[in-house]
Structures are given as C-alpha cells and as structure tokens.
Symmetry: D2
Subunit: 474 residues, 4 copies
C-alpha cells in the first residue's frame, strides 16, 4: 500500500525497507529475471543460440525499463507481462537483431508473473526470516537475563499463578522460532512456473522436436524446466500449478503467521505497559509516543502499530484461500485477485518483523513493579501451589476446597491468604510442619516450575535453528 | 495500493481517477479540511477570534504542505495528525502570530483522522454513486432494447427455462440500484468526530466556561460540534464514536456491496462470453484482450479484472468488522488497522464501478447465438412450461412425471421433447387440443412471464432514484 | 452449531433460546410457512380454490413432519425443499385429494428456502432487537447511576484523561442503540422471494392467463406476490433477488454488528476486570468463573465468552459477501454457501446479546477503586486540563511544552505533577491566581466535560427509539 | 454444524461420517483420552500409584459419561473440562476411593481441551488423508484412461489451446497429492499440550520434588510430558503453546486446503457440465439432481455442494489466524473463538473429500463432445501451435502477427484458420512444405506437449506418497 517513501496511513512502512523488496521496482526486476532465466534455460537446453546469453546479460538491468509505460499498458491484457515482453524485446533487438525471437518462448504471461511472485516471496521471505532471527537473538537474551524475574502469570485477565519474565520472553521466542522455521521451510520450496498456455508445455515440446531432433523431446523440455528453476533458485515443480494455488496459499499463510507471531508479542507489550500494570514499557525516542492533546502521554506506539499490522492479515489470508477455487486452465479473476493481497502480506511481515526487532531492543522491564504486582492479591496468586502442597497431606479435593474457601475469606476480610490458611489449618489441628510447608508455597521462586528449563530449551532451539540455517546457505 | 499513476499489479487502477479521491493527497486535503473546520467552528461559537477565519482561508490549500515530511514524521506518534498539526501551525503562524493557538483545539488525533476518513468516504462514495448511476443508465437501455431477446436461463450451470436478455440486464440493474441506494444512504449519514481525548469534550467545555461565561457551556460546545459537522457536510453524532465503529463498518460494507454488485455483472459476462456460450462479448479496443502466447485470443479482460476486484472485498470487510472490538477510549491497534482496508474498499469500488460503467457500453449481445443456444436441448428447456400446461389437464404430479419421463426419453433417443411428449399424449388417448396447447409451451415468448413488467419496474426504479437523488443535491 | 440442548463447544448457547429460533425445527417451520403462504396467496389471487385455505390450516403444523427423513432426503436435490414438498404434498392429499396440486405452484426451491431464510432472520432479528432493548435499559440505568463516578479514561492502554463510568456506559449504550436501530431497520425490510425457476414468474403468469382470463395476467401475478409477502410479514421485492444477494449481506452485517457491539462491551469488562485495574467485575453465581487448577480464580467468564462470539463474526460476514458473486440465474455453490454462515451469525447474535443483557445486570462497579486508579499517575492524567488552563495565560504551545516538561520531571522525581507545575510557575514569576487555577484542573469533576449531557442524550435516544418501536408494533 | 444424523442445511453432511469424528461424542472421547493419558503418564513417571492404571482402564469409556450434563455445566467455567473432571472423578472414586486424587493433576482446562483438539484433528485428519488417497486412486485411473482424450484447454473462459482430459485429471491429482501431503505432514506433528496453569508446569515440578526425591525434578517432569504425548500419539512440544497458536492455524490451513483442492475439482465439474459444454457430467442416482420445478433437470448436485463447502473455508481460516493475537498466559476470548471454526473446517474437509471421492467415481466423460468442442473455433484454438511452427520459418514476431491477422480474418469470414493461413502463405510465395507443416499444427495430438509425461509423473507421485505413507504406519 505504501509507495516508496511511505504512505500517509502506514506509519510503520516509513522506516522499513519493505518497498525495496515488494514494491513495483522489485516486481519489475523479478519479472525480468523470470524472462531472462527462461531465455538462458533455452540456451542450456540447446533451444536457443549461445549468443543469447550475452544478450540476456546486456538487458538484465530492469531499472532501464520504463516502469510507468509498462504499468499503463498492462491494462489492455490485464497483466503487466504482455507489455513487458514488448519493451524487453525492443531492448533485446537493440543489442542484436533477432534476439527477441528467443524471449518469452514457450511460455505465457501467467508463467512469468507467477514465477516473479515466487521470486518476490522468496526474497522478502528470506529477509523476514533473517529479521526474525535477529528478533530471536534479542528475545533469547531477554529470556536469559530475566530468568529469575518473577511476575504474575495471568489467565483471562486475572492474576493466575506466578511466572517469570524469562519464561514470558521464552514463550515469545518459541513462537518466533516456529514462525521463522515455517516461513523458512516455505520459502525454500517455492516453485517456478513454466507450463505454457495451458500447462502442457506444448510449444517447448514442439521446439524440442524441431530444434533438438537428436534428443528425446520430453528430456529436453525437462532440462529447460530444471535449468529455469535452478537459474532462479526456485524449486522445480512436478507440473505447472496455474490452477493449483497451494504455493500461494502456503506462502501467504507463512507470511501471515510471521506477522501474527510478532503481533502477539506487541499485544502483550501493550498489555504489560498499561498504566495500572506498568511492568514493561517501550523505550521511546525523541518525538515518539506523544499525543497531540495530552502532554504526559508515553504511548507504546511501535507495539500498537505492530498489533494493527497483525489484525490485517486474517482477511488477506482469506482472499488467498478463496482463490484456490480456480476454474479452467487459468481462472477469470481468482488469479488476478491474489496479487495485491500476497504483496500486502509480505509488506506487513517485513514492516512488522522489523518493528518488532527494534521494539525488543527497546523494552524496559521493571522487575520491581513485577514484584509489587505479585503482591497485589495478598497471596491469592499462590493458591494453586498452596493446594498442591496441601493435597499431599489432605487429598486433592479437600485441599482444593480448603484453599477455595480460604481464598474467599481472604478476599472478603482483606487478609493475606497465607494467614487465613494457617489459621484454618491450626483450627483443624494440623501440625506446624504442614503450615510451614504451605507457607513456603508463597515463595515466587518455588512457583516457577520448568521456567528455567524452558528458557534453556528455547534458547537452544533458537540458536540451533540459526546455526543449521546458516550452514544451509552457500 | 496503487500510487498515482497506478501500480504494476493493479491494471484497473491505471485508467481510474480513484487516486485523486483516496490517495495520500486526498487524505491530506481531508485532514486539513477537518482541522480548519474545527477552527472555523470555534470562531462560530465565539471560542476563537474572528480573524481566525481569514487565517483558515489563507492556509486552506493542502497541496502547499510537505506531504513527504508529514508521512515520515507520522511514525513517531503513530498517525499523521501529530506532524500535520505542527506543519499547519507553522503555516498559520506565518500568516498571523498567535494563530496556531486556535488550531487543533479541544481535539485529539483520532477526531481529525476519523473525520478525514468520513470526508474521504463521502467524497469517494458520492463518486461511486454517480458512476453507478451512469452504469444504471446503460443497463436500463440494454434491458429495454433486449426485452424480446430470448435466451436460456441457467441454474446450477444447466439450462433451466427461457429468459430474456432484457430480464438479465434488469436483474443487474436492480442490484446496482440497490447497491447505489445503500451506498447513497450511508454516505449521506456519515458522522463527524469530535470527542477530544476520551470522548467527553472536556477541553471544549473548559474553554466555553472560560471564554464564553455569558452562555451555558453545554450549549456552546454543542454549537461547536454542529458547526464543525455542518462545515464539512457530515452528520452531527449523538456522541463521539471513537470506539463505536459502526460508521466505519457501515461504510465498508456499502463500498464492498457496490463492488460486489458490479462484480456479479462482470462474472456473468465472463460466463456468457465463454467460447461455447458466446452470447455476450466485451467489445475490445486495440491492444486489449490479447495474450502473450495465443494470437487468436480475445479475452474479456475488463470483466475479469472487475471480478478480481470483487473477490478482494470480503477479506477487507472482515478486517473492519474485527475492529468493532475496540477496547478503552481508543484501542491499541484496532483503530489503526482500519485505515488501509477502508481506503482499499473505496479504491476497489471506484475502479470496479468505473470499469463496469465502461464495460456495459461495450457489451456485444449476440441475439442469434442466444436463440441457437436455446435450441441446444431440443426442447428440454421448455419442460417447466410444458408441465404447467399439462397440469391443467392431468394434475400437477402426473404432468410432472410425464414430462420427466419424456425428458429422459428425449435425451436418450435424441429426439425433440415436444415430439416425444406429443407421441405419449397420443398414445394415452389425449385429444389434439391438449397436444396443441403443449406445443405452444415451446415458444420462448410464451415463457417470459413477468420479464417485461420487471424491466419496466426496474427502469422506473432506476430513474426515480436518480431523480430524487439529483434533487437532493444543492 | 449447537444442537438443541447445546454443543459441548458452545457454552454460551446452553443458556440461550437461540435454537428455538434458528435450529432445524425453526427452519422447517419457516419452510412450511413459506409454502403455505404461497398456497394462500394463490387462493387470494383466484389461482387456487377457496377450500385450499382449509387444507393449509390443517397441515400448518410443521412439527408433524418427519424432520429426520427430510434432512436425509435433502441430499439428492441439494436442498431440503425438494423432499419437503413431497412430505407436505402427502399430508395435503390426506386432508383432501387433489390438494397437492396447489402446493409449490409457480415456484422453485430457492424461492422457498430464501423466503424461509428471511423469516428465520426476521424472527431471530426481532428477538435480538428486543434483547438489545433490555440490555439498553440496564446500560441506561448504569449510565445514570454512575454519572458522577470518576474514573481514568485510557487511550492506547495508557491513562489519558479522566472520564466517568457513566460516560463509559453511555458509550456502550449508544453503540447498542445504533446496532439495534440498524438491525431493526434491516429486519423490517427483508423481502420475500418468489421468482420461479429463473426469476420471471413464468408459471404464475401462465396460470394467470389460463385460470384468470378475466384479469390482466401481470396484475394477477403481482397480487400473488404481494399476498405472499404480506402473509409472511415480509417486504415485497421489485423483482426476485435470486442472484442479487444484498438482503442476505445486509442481514448478515446487521447481525454481526449486533454481536460486535455487545462484544465490545464484554471486551471492556475483561479489561476493567483485570486484577491490576479491578474497577468492574462480573458478579458470579455459584459454580461460575472458577478454574480447574486455581481455587482463587474468579474469571469474568460471561464476558470472555461474549468476546469469543464476537471474534467469530468477521469471517462469517466475509463468506456472505463472497456469495454476492452469484453467476447464472442460480449459482453453483455461492447460494448454498450462505445457509450455515447466516444461521451462525444469527445464533451468535442471539447468544451474545442474551449473555450481555445478563452480564450488564451483574456488573459490580467499584467506584473506590476507580478513584484510587485515578491517583496512580500522581496527576499526570490531568495534564490536558492543566494545559488548557495554562494556555489561556501562556498560549497553547508554551503551555503544552511546560506541562510536557513538568510531566517528565514529575515522573522522574516521583512527585505530583501539580507540585512540579506549581514550582515551575513560581520560578517563572507567575502569580498565585494562575497557580490556583491550575490546581483546580486536577479536580476530576472539572474534567468531565459533556459527560452528563451525553448520558442524558443517549438515555433519551435509547428511550425514544424504544417508544417509537413499541408503537410500530401492533 | 450438523448434529448426528445431519442438519437440514447441510445436505453433504448427511451421507458423511464426519460427526463420528468431530461431533460432541468424539470430543468427549478425546477429552477423556487426554485426562487418562495424563494419569497414565503420572504413573509412568512415578508420580501416581500403579493401581491408577487399572482405574484408567475402568473409566476409559467416554460413552458412559453424561454428555448432556457436562454440556450444561460447561457454562459456569466457560469450557467443558471443568465439569468433565468432576464427572470423571466421580467415576474414578466409584472404582477406587482416592483415585480422583490422581486425575487432572498438574494441569489446567486448556491443556486438556487443546490436547483433545489435537486428537480430534489428528483423527479426522488421518481420515481426510485416507479419503484423499482414495480420490487420488480414481483420479489416477481417469488420468491414465484419458491420456489421449483431446479437449479444449480454456483460459479466462476462452478456448486457448488443446489439452487432454488426462492432463486435466492429472492436474486435479497433483493438487490432491499436494493437499494430502500437507495435511499428512501437519497431522503427524500436532503437539500435546501440558503446561499447567500458565505454562510453567509448576505443579508437576512440585510433585516431582515431593514424590520423586530420588530423581531430578526437571527430568521427572520431562518424562511426564513425553509419556503423555506418546500415550496419545501426539508430538511432544518444546514448551506449552497456550498462547502460541501456530499448531491450530497450521491444522486449520491444512484442512482448508484439502477442502479447497477438492472444491476446485468440483468447480471444474460444474463448468465442464454446463449445458453448452457438456464434456463431463455427474452420474446421478435415483432421486438425485432433480429440481422441484423443472422435470428435465439433471443438476451436478454433488459438485455444487462441494463447491459450497469450499467457499466457506476462507472465513473460518481467517478467524483462526485472528486468534494468533493471544494476550496473557491464556487469552480472554481468542482461545474460545477457535473451537467451533476448527471443528467446522474439519467437518467441511471430511464431507467435501468424501463427496469428491464419490463424485470422481461417477464422472461421465464425453470424449466425443470434447472433440466436437475442439472444432467450435474452426481452428483458432490451434493458433499458438501454428505460430510456433511458422516462427521457425518466419521469425517469432512475424509469425505471431500473421496468425493474429489470419485469426481475425477467419473469425470475420467464418472460414477455418488453416485455410486462411494457407491462402496467405501461398500469396506470400511460401512453399508447400511450410504449408504442410502448418497444417499439421492443427492436429490435437501434436498439441499435447508433456501431457503424457505429466500424467505419468503425477501417478507416480500419487502412488509413491501412498506407499511411503503406508510404510510409515505401524
């Protein structure tokens, strides 16, 4: 939605590099890359002359094309490939007469546009994966640093049992690791498209018969497809997927999940930054977080904008899923309806992930306030652990009932739960040892369970993934 | 999504004026209009000096503002109003020192942004209404011209009973009239927003107390609100709707319905233009409808692109509905998530309606082919009318069974249904008069029912609405 | 989704009457009503014998039909009307031989099913309108009772400026009034459907010609349509809307908006009930709000379930909007895809509105805690009013800057803002009167602006609507 | 939506086993399985007595529980686990006193409900995978049988170039194979949930400390988690995913994609079955495909209902994606909003896949009609191949222009393209050999390109997957 330089209604986009990866320039580049990869694949398969490689090199720079004219002329055929081929042919002819004969051969607009879509998705997807990796680094550090920072765990908005901020951060980290792995997996498997008019590669087959009488036509065509995909770093599909839109849906879902995973972190920040909770805040730069009306305001503005981005993904994902219903060998609208929503999902993932990576480095964690909030309920938040300890002596049901009644009494009389419980246990004739053990249940550290183990596990998972991934790259 | 001049992935947008109505420039204009309307309303209510009217006039031209800078600076506060106020204040001060004291008074960013959203919606909505009116003119002419053009009615893809192209066009017209009325109704009732920080108009009330001690503060504030809304041509709300987002949802739904109503026409065109049906085609200009691979192709490219636009609205509508869940006195993300989807719904309605208005004038209707297709089933398509005629003599059940069996026999023996039926009736000893009456059932004209009455009704409804509406305008 | 008696996964549905209004029994009733209304309309127009009225009366009780069998047999034709007609015909014949000849005449399955859909929508819509009215009563009482109950207004999760709980409740009330008016308006205008096979009413026209040679066929058919609609209490459409699905979309949107309007109230309750805020709580009955693990838990369970209902509406609305793209004279899937989502939207509105009406009567409002929370920021929440007061003396910009700097100092030094401000004003040589006026800005009552006026306005709007509506009913 | 026995509005559900897999009974079974798996895992880890295994066995039959009561009581706590635990505890106590102490230990409602959701998803997912496998068998047979059945390929509704029905079926098969692999992959990796109140497993840790002083607590807890997951055949997660909802989204997406992949096949059937195309039809049983009004109608009713199912998935997927924004350690609504949409996505996949598997075995393919349709354009459909052949002699641009002009002339003069082309080539002085080669381009078989290779590839892919998968099962 944002033009280069940003849109008035997309504040997050302003500080993002998203447009370089998904804007019209990026798309034009990808379209040209697809066309030239095909020309080169024809050379590789002996269906075009060797000198065509030189021509490809000479015209490879998409920025020399007239984007505005191509955009304008796209109206006639309903997509930008038709005018692009004309512009590119003109350039090729200026390099060498007859060169245009070897451009856009055996293919159709959808091949080139779908392939370009996969290139743009791959390029922006890799960037999102990398940014999520950086975000993960910061979260891993936060998780380790705050391993012992006890805070209230909350369910349905109510203080539930204690947790640590380290565990909260490890939860965010785990989700980011999952979303990153999912996106990385999808991005690594996006297929090139090369089916020709209706998916049969009939023209390539005919050319193979006429130009490579020495070889089996099927083999020559397979070589073209493989070389084309390899040239672009895309997967080689079992067949054209012109009306099998799973790659689009898979990409859309993965970009959406990335945005949503960071959106959840941002949502939590907005909650924890609430004036009455105030456990976490977004460190603001000059001129940030202010209000036009209230001079004291310190709004968690980055977090809010990330949340907004994540609220926009579900509808866009729905549009892509709806395009799975693609009739004929190229559908009358379902295909065209995918272009902008997929681009928007990529854009949102890029801007939201980038903003989250920045936000994570600017989180102020107020351990003191966390501790103070833990005391707000005068011990009620320890009810589960108290029950657990008591159950060993009284049985589960009796323990639960005792703590439930004591909790109610504590709330009504505004006395600490541990005091009420202690009193009741005394009254019931229980020994000091039990009372002492129950007393211990009210120690936050006693309540952290597997928190540290989980932090360690998630940090390892983050690092390991990272390592594996770095290896995978050339 | 498309920048001025269009986006590579939005061919419809290229030939549309949508950007003038919903692009960043249009938004900036609306934001400035909102700010200045407030300043003028303050003057009207005696809360700002008279000379401020002149200042407003002097700085009313939004195009003199630095859009790029405002866009850039919007990041800090999370919306463009905060920097806009600074830029506008600077302009005001250059006109008259102290003037900025009377800008953005008693208001908050959301007031201005929401009001601007309503202005943009009103302006683009009125344009869509007008374009739908023009589309309706063409459809009304088509409906009247083709009143007697019989064609096959189809249900679940199967030829069902005859209809006329006039009735088909009247069906399109009726839907356009409905969508237009709905959008016109919504557009006429969109409210201004003026709640101040949390909806209480506390600052305005305070200013009324201090600057207009002569008057009841509540009345002064009410005057400000009314004058503000009136200045902008918007409705005056019962209270601020900062977290009651029905106006946004209503606008979004109405724009979506407009796009979808024309989308359905386009969808029907793609069906009727199928090579095997070929009853309707889109008259193509030079360079339109071609393919990069198949020289013979004449694609209904405008229809396809309109369908694509209409497939994108449901997801965007969903995002707006989700933002109804707005917590606090201004929510942390739900509000921000509305901006781009609403703009996109407006953009799609503008481009789709415009393209449909053009498409309707370029429809070639092949009455001969329609007649030929009517004969494809050798009379099966008249089965309902034959049953109706027979039921008068045989009873409904018996007539249905007879025609059902005859239909099966006709299909299997590849004989005309009327012949098979006639034979069976003879065999059963029915007289010639019945056979003759049944024979008449196979006349398409006999099958048109209320088609002409409906055409007349819809044309009147179209015209009447139109007249009423033109009156309503100043 | 919930069967009568409720579904395991729909706790809200258990205590709701929704199934009586939208379940299969309700639908069967509506389908029968539609069929019999048509038979009666035929009698009224002289196209069926008078005695048919008696037959209609005799078979009007849908509960005598075999719902399970009809459900089973619906598979063959793809909708339940086809078997229903057979079952109903059998009943009619058992009353009087030949009666079935006058059932399902001149109509098609879609007519009956669409009409039934509108009946179900009308009946459940009226119930939702009534329940929203009751909810409004409670909210109006809350708004009036808490007119002077000051509390913190919050934007982007941060304390912003003071408001009153009365104004908050008036905000909820206004949204409920709007959603109620919208739904009432839609419900009052839902059209009957009677187009016959492809919308031309060809069979009715033929019957009019043959059975009412005394009258103009068009007029007779118009009489049938009008009588049919009137019998059912539905609007009479300009033409059949078999592929113009605006009525479905309008109904779906209005039900969704109702759910979302109460969903927002519930969302606010979950926020205000947070342990750290604790300004509002849901009064829980025995066995409510508990946890399986934490004995102290008092979850706002009704509020949470209402929020969940409101999160499900956007996706369902999207599905209905997508069905606007309906090809042919009856589409191959778009129509069938509407049935369950529309029913689910009705069900959600019924259960959510009902639960909200109950929740509103069980809200505990803690005015003391609200007051305490107002003091949490040591005066920062009054920064806007302080600025307003100061601006009268210092000018707007200077006032804003002074309060902004003082706010920062107050936060850093943990001193009350009023003290810091006072000090700075003294240092700058301002007189006591200004300091005193600023001091007054920190009185919550001074900050309520139009809150009371708005409460009065919304209560009047609620009552007025109500009155008008009660009048409108017979 | 459909109760056991089906819903009136869900004709597809009637003949499906979906309810056995996703209905309330299935859910109750899964909830009990989860509770008992936990009890067994406690035994395995030495945290519960050995005799508890026997108790588990004794109470394992969920059908003895009072589903209606549990459903009713679910309202109080907001989910069915809270009453379930009580009912189950009662049963356990009746087997052995004290047994209930070892039920629902160290866990929370969400653990059990999420785990049950994963069980239901796994069980229904495996069924969908199997049904898709059967569908694939039929499609593979169709693809091979119709390898040489030439037909028109169509893009944007227009005849484009020839294809074979074998290739069309191979396209369907490929998409089914992909959707099946995706769903199988997801289903094999769905994780159990066991986090306790807020994800830290604090109670289990405490119990390990007190009951297994001999062992490291972390190790004991890890054993519990592993045993729990293993018992249920679910994956063991790195940590609880109570607010990391990727598993839900991944499952939802995969079910949706399965429905959409078969939905596309059905959509194509409705297109190819159009009266004017008539290349494929759905073989109808007695009482199927009829109309209540038109005796001749043979509607592709199964295909239509499958399309309808696939149009409902996008909105449901959107709802699940929206629930990724889950605040706190258990969110106030986002979690609860997932239950029904996920179940509906499973139900739709089960019914749509089952119906598609049936439909595929009932497809009548009319090769003769396909051939006749290929001739409709008098050779225009061969324009691409003619161009390809000519390009070898004339160059690409000149060939394209020549065929484009000839196509226009052919259409206008209603002469065969090959005749027009031949004439033009003669006039331009081209030799007979070229004319002959061009003439050959009009042979459909010459136009099939890689169709047969693709069929072979997809059949192998289908079979191979199948083999691998059967191996993978124990």
């Amino acid at each position: 939605m944002s033009a280069p330089g940003g849109s008035l209604l997309d504040p997050l986009g302003v500080t993002s590099d998203a447009e370089h990866l998904v804007g019209d320039d990026a798309w034009l580049r990808a379209l040209v890359d697809a066309e030239l990869a095909l020309a080169r694949a024809l050379v590789a398969a002996g269906l075009a002359p060797q000198w065509m490689s030189g021509v490809c090199e000479a015209i490879a720079d998409a920025s020399s094309l007239d984007l505005a004219a191509i955009t304008r002329e796209a109206r006639g055929g309903g997509n930008p490939v038709i005018p692009l081929v004309k512009h590119l042919a003109r350039e090729a002819e200026s390099v060498r007469s007859g060169a245009s004969d070897h451009l856009h051969v055996g293919t159709t607009s959808q091949d080139i546009l779908d392939t370009a879509a996969m290139l743009v998705a791959t390029r922006s997807g890799k960037e999102v994966v990398e940014v999520l990796g950086r975000l993960g680094d910061t979260l891993a550090a936060l998780a380790q640093e705050h391993r012992a920072t006890a805070m209230a765990g909350r369910t349905l908005g109510q203080q539930a049992t204690p947790t640590s901020f380290g565990l909260v951060a490890a939860g965010w980290l785990g989700a980011v690791t999952d979303a990153r792995a999912r996106l990385a997996g999808v991005v690594d498997s996006l297929p090139a498209q090369l089916g020709g008019a209706i998916g049969s590669q009939a023209v390539l087959t005919e050319l193979a018969r006429s130009r490579r009488p020495d070889a089996a036509a099927d083999e020559v065509v397979a070589t073209v497809t493989r070389a084309y995909a390899a040239e672009l770093g895309l997967a080689c599909p079992a067949q054209a997927w012109q009306t099998n839109r799973l790659p689009i849906v898979a990409a859309g879902d993965a970009f959406a999940a990335a945005t949503e995973a960071v959106g959840r972190i941002a949502l939590e920040v907005t909650v924890l930054a609430r004036t009455e909770i105030a456990e976490v805040s977004e460190r603001l730069g000059k001129g940030e977080g202010g209000s036009s009306a209230m001079p004291h305001k310190r709004n968690p503005v980055t977090a809010v904008l990330i949340v907004a981005a994540a609220r926009r993904t579900p509808g866009l994902v729905a549009t892509l899923h709806a395009s799975m219903l693609a009739e004929d060998q190229r559908p009358s609208g379902a295909w065209h309806a995918e272009w902008e929503p997929l681009r928007e999902l990529e854009r949102l993932a890029l801007t939201a992930a980038g903003a989250a990576a920045s936000l994570a480095t600017r989180l102020d964690v107020d351990a003191e306030r966390m501790r103070a909030n833990l005391e707000l309920t005068d011990g009620l938040i320890f009810s589960e652990m108290a029950t657990t300890v008591l159950a060993e002596a009284l049985g589960k049901r009796a323990a639960f009932d005792l703590v439930e009644q004591s909790s109610r009494e504590a709330a009504e009389t505004r006395r600490p739960l541990r005091v009420v419980l202690s009193g009741r246990l005394s009254a019931d004739g229980h020994d000091d040892m039990l009372r002492e053990r129950v007393w211990d249940a009210f120690d936050p550290a006693r309540n952290l369970g597997q928190a540290n183990a989980i932090v360690a596990r998630e940090v390892a998972r983050h690092t390991g993934d990272d390592a594996a991934e770095r290896q995978a790259k050339p």
